[in-house]
Subunit: 178 residues, 2 copies
DNA sequence: ACTATAAATCTTACTTCTAAGATATTACCA
DNA sequence: TGGTAATATCTTAGAAGTAAGATTTATAGT
């Protein structure tokens, strides 16, 4: 029963403590992730790259050449999306496709020397930006936070994989866990 | 299958401990947020709503009618985006625009009775899904995590607002802090 | 060998969202 | 008052991505 007032009473839905805590956690988790992401995006776009483009060249930089499908799962885009993005990066000379000798359906994505040079040039500053973004906590508390978030994420992935719609996405993510 | 590659040495960039810890934290933070988001999206899409649509009706449900610009800042979409989304929700009869008596430029967005009824019907289960998604940690650890993430987010927002590109977005976000 | 199925990428059509500017209204201030 | 800037929303064009299916190649059972 809400009062039929000019400004309708906002709904109260924080029934029990565990649920209220969970919703609060979900808000601050999203907001913290968003804020760090802004710092990351800021740095990335200052180099004329989109976040998805950077994610691709970063994974290639750290793991070496990789099948398009593997990149796709790591970067969490659709198969059409990875084609689109690699096309763009190839046009800019940062990435190239290579044939797979053992499977003629497959293509590797690999950094060109230009792409490699770009990452050597910009990645250290990017890492420093992330370091500054999370500097609200001292390093030892960051380590505690890492443990907690790992436990949280692990269970959340399990719960997500139990519901029908997302099974595939989560399964693929787990597959790509290096 | 994959051939044993003479893979070009992957780049090592974890120079110092603080930076390595920060990068690790950024990964697990993103991944935990992503996993909980999958659970949330799963639930939302099972009701035929997009995440952005749900975000709008959720904020209207909890805070009551609100100027389009306020909704926009809370939901973090562009001004064109809020017009597009409210149009869609209005077509489905969940939301309506109302004139603002004191400012003829402005419009309120408000839930219709149908929108209100829908949220009463689906929100408790949504909150329960979030509660289950974060159940990897006991409630008292969740509270510790909330404090840590608040400190992290606060500093990250400050750092983000120092860089030119994002000043506006972060400032607006801070404005909308209720 | 043959067939069916699966896998890897690409294509197409479409959805969602942004950026920039248009429009209308309000606020400020000389 | 009148002029300028600010505010609130909407419009338009296009970017960025998805989903579904097409294409090509590989794998496995018979």
């Amino acid at each position: 029963m809400k009062s039929p007032q000019p400004s309708p009473a906002p709904a109260r839905t924080d029934h029990d403590l565990p649920t209220a805590t969970a919703l609060k956690l979900w808000v601050v988790l999203s907001r913290a992730q968003w804020a760090v992401q802004q710092v990351s995006i800021n740095d990335i776009e200052s180099h004329g790259l989109s976040p998805a483009e950077f994610a691709i060249i970063e994974v290639l930089f750290h793991k070496g050449p990789m099948l398009l499908g593997e990149v796709q799962r790591k970067v969490l885009v659709s198969s059409g999306g990875i084609t689109f993005l690699v096309d763009k990066l190839a046009k800019r000379g940062l990435v190239e496709r290579r044939e797979c000798p053992s499977d003629r359906r497959a293509r590797y994505a690999a950094l060109t020397p230009e792409g490699e040079a770009l990452m050597h040039e910009i990645f250290p500053a990017h890492a420093a930006a992330i370091r500054d973004a999370v500097a609200g906590l001292p390093v030892d508390e960051q380590k505690t936070l890492i443990s907690a978030l790992k436990a949280l994420g692990k269970e959340a992935e399990r719960v997500a994989s139990e519901t029908p719609r997302c099974k595939k996405a989560v399964a693929e993510l787990n597959n790509s866990a290096s």
